[in-house]
Structures are given as C-alpha cells and as structure tokens.
C-alpha cells in the first residue's frame, strides 16, 4: 500500500477512516480424473477505503460511512478523487451515531506466512492417495491454497496485521453400475491441508456413491426423525448463531433476549455455543475482526440460554454492547448421548442433500434428499429423492446432539445431530 493513501486520508477532513489492505497469493490446480486440466496463480492486492462522517440533523446525531476499493496502481490524484467522493457519500447515510473501535493492542500476527508449495503439495498427494475402484472414483477436483496477509489501519490508531493460510478443495465423485452413473459433490475448507481428514472424507463420499447406486425411492414417511452427520448440520447451528448476531437482533429478524431460552423446551439437548479465537487449522484464525476489534473466546449460548450477543461495531453499539467483535470460529458443545445412542429406533440419516437450507429469518428448513439411510430397528434401506421440511421454530427445542464432535473448518460441532419430527415428502406416491 502506497504511503500517500494514509496521508490523504489523514488530511481528508473525514471524521473517521479505515483502510483494509489484503495481499493474497493463490495457487490453484484443476484436475479431470487425475489429469491436470489447468493450473493457476493469483497475485493480487485489494485496498478498501472506508470514510466516516459525523453530522447532525433535526437534533439527531448520525455517523455515515461509504466505502470503495482503490486499485493498487491508483495514482495520488485518483486516490484523492475517490476519497472526496466517499466523503460526500458518507454524508448521505443517516445511521444513528456510534463510535469506532479503539486500538486493540494485540497486533502480532497469529501465524507465520504460509508456504504455499508445501500446502499445495500436501493436497496433490492426498488426492492421489484416495482409494478408488471401478465402481466409484473421482470425477474431478479443484485445489485452492491461499496465503493471505491483511492489514487494517484506522483513524483511531489501529494498525494490525494478520497472516494466515486459507485452502479449499472441491471434489466431485462418480459411482456407476450397468444402470446409471451418479455424482456426489463435496467442498472442504481449511487453513492448510488436513491430508488424512481429506482422504478419509473423500473415501467416505465414494462409499456413499456406491450406496446410492442401490438406493430406492424415499417413501412418504410423514413425520420422521432426521439424523445429520455431515456439514449440512452447520445450517442448523448457524440458525442459532446468526440469531445471536447484534445485526439480526437490532434489525428485528431475531427475537433472542439475553437470559432467555433460544428455543422452546421440548425435551431436547440444551445448546451451548462458544466463539473461540483459534481452532486448529481453521482458515478464520485471526487476532482481530474486519473492523479491528480484538477477537477473544466468549460464550454465546449457554445451556440453551442466550448469554452474549456479538457482531459488528455499529449494530453492537445500537443494542448496548461496547466491546463486541465478529468471531471467526465457533464451538458447539456436544450433548448427553453418544452418536451410537442417537442412531437408534426409526430415523432417516441424510448424508447428501441437493442443498439443505435453514432460513435465518423464519427458521424454515428445506432440502431435497440425494442419499439417505432409512433405519428402523435393525433394518436399513438406502433411499433417494423426496425432501425434508419443517421449521426450527417448532422443531428446534427437540434437537439432540451427540457427545462426540467433528470439525468443519471454523466450526466444531456435534458429530451427529438428530432433528425430531421433520416432514418427509416421499419420492413417489
């Protein structure tokens, strides 16, 4: 970032400003089967300016802001023009007055600069080590490894830098018999490469693929318990985590109140959620959030009761929080029963949805079943088609969580989640 940017901001007349400078190097590899389709390198810098203006109208105090990206090759004249424009635009935004984050003190990067060649090599070798068969194999995969350096400088004296790795692997697997060929999709996100975890997960997906070949149509089950044992469960936990966000509360989308239950008690496990500063190999480990607030460990929901809201500075202050932040990692504590104990009786374990969703506002859940295992005592049948629906407003209080946990990048959640009484639309009849 050119020094003139800070100089221009300091003399701009703004009531506040912030500069985010993100320097990113990315290595990418795209494979069809195991043949390299394309390799790519990204070397970019993204500089984002935010200008704040305090003003008063009709006796009301406002703090408006406007932001824009400034090209890293911008000249001083271009930067000056942009800052003038943002200064004007910030004056159009009548947001109730709030204060900006003070310096957070903890400015040391959490990690050393990642070695992309090593991380990329780990991914390449991990994918080659996956055990495939004629019946189920890898169709294609894409590997993304990034080294990110982000710096935040603000008018209030914040000047902090974080360096971290961010990786992603997208894998498509096929399974086939003489009737048909099917496809399953997975996306894995992490800091660096978890080779063993990636290999195990892809091999599990290949097993799902083989099972899908012999799947029958999902019967019209009416009400049935649904078990989640993949990252689709994140949608369920995100519903509760999002509802504790200060922005959701302030805007009236969430009616959560501190000290009150986040779901009606219907005999399920009580939810406990913590924000944590670091989680092993998460791509969201950072010492500060996007606005320079220091990130720390904090309990959000404890025993099913709302304990602490979190969120961006403006919304946090609007609901009376002075030192909040936007967490990067979350831990959902396990429940009272093991995964094996939750997998009893009649239930449908869905391991592949088209796109499982929980609506943050309404709590409505929906997802087409691509692969499920219908358990009824000792019998298990593999099913596909139809859909799961319902609403967490009614079903959330009866959720059960396994005592075992499983990590998905920046979330550590119960390995198995049981949603009792969902509606199952069959694939026929």
């Amino acid at each position: 970032m050119e020094n003139f940017i800070l100089d221009l901001l300091k003399k701009s007349g703004a009531d506040g400003w912030a500069v985010r400078d993100e320097i990113r190097t990315g290595w990418e590899f795209y494979f069809i089967r195991h043949a390299l389709d394309q390799n790519r390198v990204r070397e970019t810098e993204h500089i984002t300016l935010t200008i704040y203006r305090a003003f008063e109208e009709d006796g009301k105090k406002y703090l408006g802001s406007a932001s824009a990206e400034l090209a890293p090759t911008a000249t001083e004249t271009e930067a000056e023009k942009l800052i003038r424009s943002l200064l004007f635009e910030a004056g159009l935004i009548r947001n109730r007055a709030y204060t900006l984050n003070p310096p957070c003190g903890d400015a040391a990067p959490l990690a050393a600069a990642p070695e992309l060649r090593t991380i990329a090599g780990d991914f390449l070798r991990a994918m080659k080590s996956v055990k495939e068969s004629a019946e189920a194999d890898i169709n294609s995969y894409e590997i993304f490894t990034d080294s990110v350096c982000r710096r935040l400088v603000t008018s209030t004296g914040i000047d902090v830098t974080d360096v971290y790795p961010s990786s992603m692997a997208e894998v498509v697997v096929n399974a086939r018999d003489d009737r048909r060929e099917i496809e399953l999709y997975r996306m894995y996100k992490s800091g660096s490469c978890d080779a063993a975890g990636l290999k195990a997960n892809v091999e599990e997906t290949l097993r799902f693929g083989r099972d899908k070949l012999r799947a029958g149509k999902t019967p019209a089950l009416g009400k049935c318990d649904v078990v989640f044992s993949t990252d689709d469960a994140l949608e369920i936990y995100d519903y509760y985590i999002d509802r504790m966000n200060a922005g959701m509360v302030y805007q009236g989308i969430s009616d959560c109140e501190i000290g009150k239950a986040v779901a009606e008690d219907k005999g399920g496990d009580k939810l406990t959620v913590r924000a944590v500063k670091t989680l092993e190999n998460s791509s969201h480990n950072g010492a500060f959030d996007d606005e320079g607030a220091p990130v720390r460990d904090m309990t959000i929901i404890s025993g099913g009761v709302a304990e602490n809201f979190y969120g961006r500075r403006m919304f946090a202050q609007y609901i009376g929080l002075e030192d909040s932040f936007s967490p990067g990692n979350f831990v959902v504590e396990g429940g009272g029963k093991t995964a094996a104990e939750l997998r009893t009786g009649k239930y449908l374990e869905v391991v592949e949805f088209s796109d499982f969703q929980v609506d943050t506002a309404s709590g409505d859940i929906a997802g087409e079943i691509r692969l499920g295992y219908l358990h009824d005592g000792d019998s298990v049948s593999v099913v596909e088609g139809g859909s799961v629906s319902g609403t967490l407003r009614e079903l959330g209080g009866a959720l059960r969580f396994s005592s075992e946990q499983k990590q998905y990048n920046n979330y550590l959640i119960p390995a198995v989640t049981r949603l009792c009484g969902a509606s199952i639309t069959g694939a026929e009849g």
């Binding site: 390799n39 635009e89 947001n95 090599g121 390449l124 805007q251 309404s362």
Partner: protein, 467 residues
C-alpha cells in the same frame, strides 16, 4: 447514450499487447483479459443504511492464459505497469514454473488439450445505456430509496422494516491475443424491495425486484412494487405448510425461470436426453447472451467468443448445450459464448447467461380454470440441480391453492419442489403468453464461482412433487 469504454483499459492496452507478445516466445497460445468495471450499491432500510462502490461485477485486474505442451495455465494480477510489461511476463513465468516443478515432483499427468484457434477479430462495442453508474446522483437516489422504504414500512401494521437495495455496474472488458483486440462496455442494474414482517414471533421477508441492461434509471420502476410486495410478505405470516404430495401446478414466470436455470445448468448429459427422454413438445428454450437484453447480455464472453443465441430445446427435443472454448475444443464442438469468470481472479467455466422458455398462447386465467386441485406457485428462494441424476430442487416462496379452477385464497409457504427434470418438463401442458425475465440474483457453480444470470419465461402448467 453509449456506455464509454474504459480510458484506463485503452491506456494499458499497448502494454498488455506487448505482454502477449513477450509470453508468445514461451507459449503456444497467449491471451489476456483485462477488466475495469465500476459501480455502486446503495442499501436503505428503516434501521441501517450503506453505500459502497462494489457490486458482484466491479473489479479491475487482468488474467493471462497461456498454453504449452497441451497444458493451459493462468496468471491473475492487478499490479500491472504498462510501461514495463516485461516485469509481469517474468513474474508469470517464474510463478508458473514453480507450479510446474511441483506438478512434476508429484507426478501429475496433464489433460492434453489442443491449442485454441485464434481467428482475427477486432471489435469495440459500446452499448446503449441511460445514466452511467459513476455519474449517478447518489444523493437523489438515497432519498428516493428512503421514501420507498418509509412507504413500505407504513404499508403494514406487521412491518418491522422495508429494505431497498440498488446496484448498478458499468462493465468494461478488454480481450487480447496475437490476432484479437476485443473491447466491450455496457451497463446493467438491479434493484430489490424486501419488506420484513412479523406476527406472533414469526418473521417473513418479501422480495420483488427489477433488473436489466440499463442504467440506474431502472430504480424508478421499484416504486410500483413496494405495496404489492408488502402484501405478499403479509400473506406469508398466516401461510400454512403444504401437505406433501404431487400436484397440478401453475408456476409464475419467475419460477419458470428457476426451473429453466436449474434444469439445464451445469453439465446435463445431453446424449441421454436426446435418445431416451421425451419432453413436452410445448417446450422450447433459449440460452445465450444474445437473445435477450438483460443483466447477462454481453457482446463477447471472457474467452473472446462472440455471444450466441443457443436453442437448447426445440419443441421438446434437446438440440444442443452450451460450452466454453476449452471444453468445446475437447468435445470437438463450437463454443457458444458461455465462458465466464466470476472475476479476473477466477477460472473460466461454462456458465449460463439468459435462460428462457418460449411463451405459449394461453392466459393465466385459462390455465387456472383447468386445475382441479393444485397450486399457483410464486416467488423463488433458491434452486439446485443434480447434473448427473437430473434431480432438481426449487425452494419456492409461496403457493396459492386452486380448487375446481378457482383460487381459494389459501396460501402455503415455503414449498420445496423436487423431481426428475424430464418428468417435470414432460408434464408441461400449458404455457401462457407472458414473457418475463428476472436478473436480480446470481448463480454459483457448485457452491462458488458466482456470476450474473437472468432467467424467465411464461406461466407454465405442469405436475410437480411439492413438500
């Protein structure tokens, strides 16, 4: 007026041409795509407001594509010095060589692909537009959106907010090879009204929008949508869950568009379709950046292929698919102008542009009159398809019950429509005369690579599984 091409791109073009020339010394094929797209987003609600200069397509940067020994490689960057293209050429060689070394070390095989053709083409297309985003009176726009937000908030006793979002982008792209110099400039805009209502602890959103390859003047059209969308949101507050089952349905043009998009996105097995699947002969579907003027309408794609009008289905028979240039080369077919990147940092994939069912000759009233028991489905939330197995999932906002040819007033929400695409399209029995496109959303490939698309069509009557 014409949307003027970026002076910045014109200024760096000579340097980029030199970069192509330098890399041609080492590679069989070299192209560069450079972008300089500006715009704004204004978000106004009763509780929070924001303005910034970002949209899904604002960007400035370049990407070089090179090929050697059958392997295609890319280098994306945004610190280009046009007076020293040799520095960028050297850096591209250095970082790609590092990757080649790793690939050799890990024993990675290469998917051998022929060299892309490089037919000469010189094009400078500055498309018609109204106001430019960069010249928009944002003060007036913020006031206009604030008035609409206040009106929406006041329109219902259950309203807790009414959000307005207006986005406009002036896209400029430059594509260069040894033989090609293609430059295009156009403006597209999109705006949405989203009232938020609550009753007895239940919270629901409404959603209506406008979109087009037009300037910010388009946002005036949002005004007429405010009160109707608040009413739609109110309906959701007392909506019941649908009884799962198969129903006769009439889908609105918005839902028709969602079906068009999800049914024919991302890798359909066309040979199976032609041989084994019979669709309704009422179905004719177009895909392409050329046949419609919407948010995904351009002169050429991100690989320098001119925009097409591809008729994917004619009278129920699949004719062809869409293809980016590299996939076309591998398949031995012609590219269709569907090679798109999320932005200069991202790889090209085959992507949809405007996907549209042709209209029929019925009226909506005639269609409703033929339904014994079913639903009129309106409003889309999301969609997803299973490209291999051809399953489809559409989450639809609301359904209005029809019994004995009449709307009963009962509303159900939300609705998960699932099924097998050939069965769904094979069941289409009536099409209305309407023709509407919707371009306020985005489309991902898998769960990433977001690009602008539009889709639409007429009201369609079909049979569908709802839950």
């Amino acid at each position: 007026m014409k949307a003027p091409f970026s002076p910045y791109l014109d200024a760096i073009a000579p340097g980029l041409k030199k970069l192509v020339e330098l890399l041609r010394e080492d590679f069989d094929y070299v192209s560069v795509l450079s972008t300089d797209s500006v715009g704004f987003t204004a978000s106004i609600s009763q509780r929070a407001k924001a303005v910034n200069h970002s949209t899904m397509m604002t960007e400035r940067g370049s990407v070089v594509r090179v090929s050697r020994g059958g392997l295609y490689s890319e280098y994306a960057f945004n610190r280009f010095d046009p007076s020293h293209p040799e520095l960028t050429a050297a850096e591209a060689r250095r970082v790609l060589d590092e990757q080649f070394a790793l690939l050799e070390e890990t024993g990675s095989a290469v998917y051998d692909t022929p060299v892309l053709p490089d037919e000469p083409c010189v094009l400078r297309e500055e498309m018609e537009t109204g106001i430019l985003p960069e010249e928009t009176d944002l003060a007036a726009l913020v006031e206009k959106l604030s008035e609409m937000s206040a009106r929406g908030f006041a329109a219902s006793e259950y309203a807790i907010d009414c959000r307005l979002r207006a986005q406009s982008t002036h896209v400029c792209k430059l594509f260069l090879t040894a033989n090609r110099d293609m430059r295009q400039s156009y403006v597209f805009s999109e705006g949405v009204v989203m009232p938020l209502v609550t009753k007895n602890g239940r919270v629901e959103f409404g959603y209506e929008g406008v979109s087009g390859r037009e300037g910010p003047e388009i946002f005036d059209r949002l005004s007429d949508k405010v009160e109707p969308v608040v009413k739609s949101a109110e309906e959701l507050l007392s909506a019941e869950r649908i009884e799962p089952g198969e129903y006769e349905v009439i889908v609105s043009p918005e839902v028709s568009g969602l079906i068009a998009h999800e049914a024919f996105g991302h890798g359909v097995e066309m040979d199976m379709f032609v041989k084994n699947r019979a669709l309704s002969d009422l179905v004719t579907m177009h895909e392409g950046a050329k046949p419609e003027i919407e948010v995904a309408s351009y002169a050429f794609d991100d690989e320098g292929t001119l925009a097409h009008d591809t008729v994917e289905i004619r009278n129920g028979i699949l004719k062809t698919g869409v293809c980016d240039a590299l996939a076309a080369l591998r398949l031995g077919v012609a590219p269709t102008g569907n090679g798109k990147r999320e932005n200069f940092e991202h790889k090209v994939y085959t992507r949809m542009t405007n996907t549209v069912f042709e209209s029929g000759d019925s009226t909506l009233e005639e269609m409703i009159a033929t339904v014994k028991y079913g639903y009129l489905l309106k409003g889309m939330q999301s969609g997803m398809e299973d490209p291999k197995h051809w399953g489809i999932q559409c989450i639809i906002d609301r359904g209005y019950e029809i019994r004995d040819g009449k709307l009963t007033g009962k509303v159900v929400s939300p609705i998960v429509m699932t099924g097998y695409v050939p069965e769904l399209l094979g069941s289409i029995s009536m099409l209305s005369r309407d023709h509407e496109l919707f371009g306020t959303g985005g489309c991902g490939k898998g769960h990433k690579e977001w690009v602008k698309v539009s889709d639409g069509g007429p009201y369609m009557k079909a049979k569908a599984r709802l839950g």
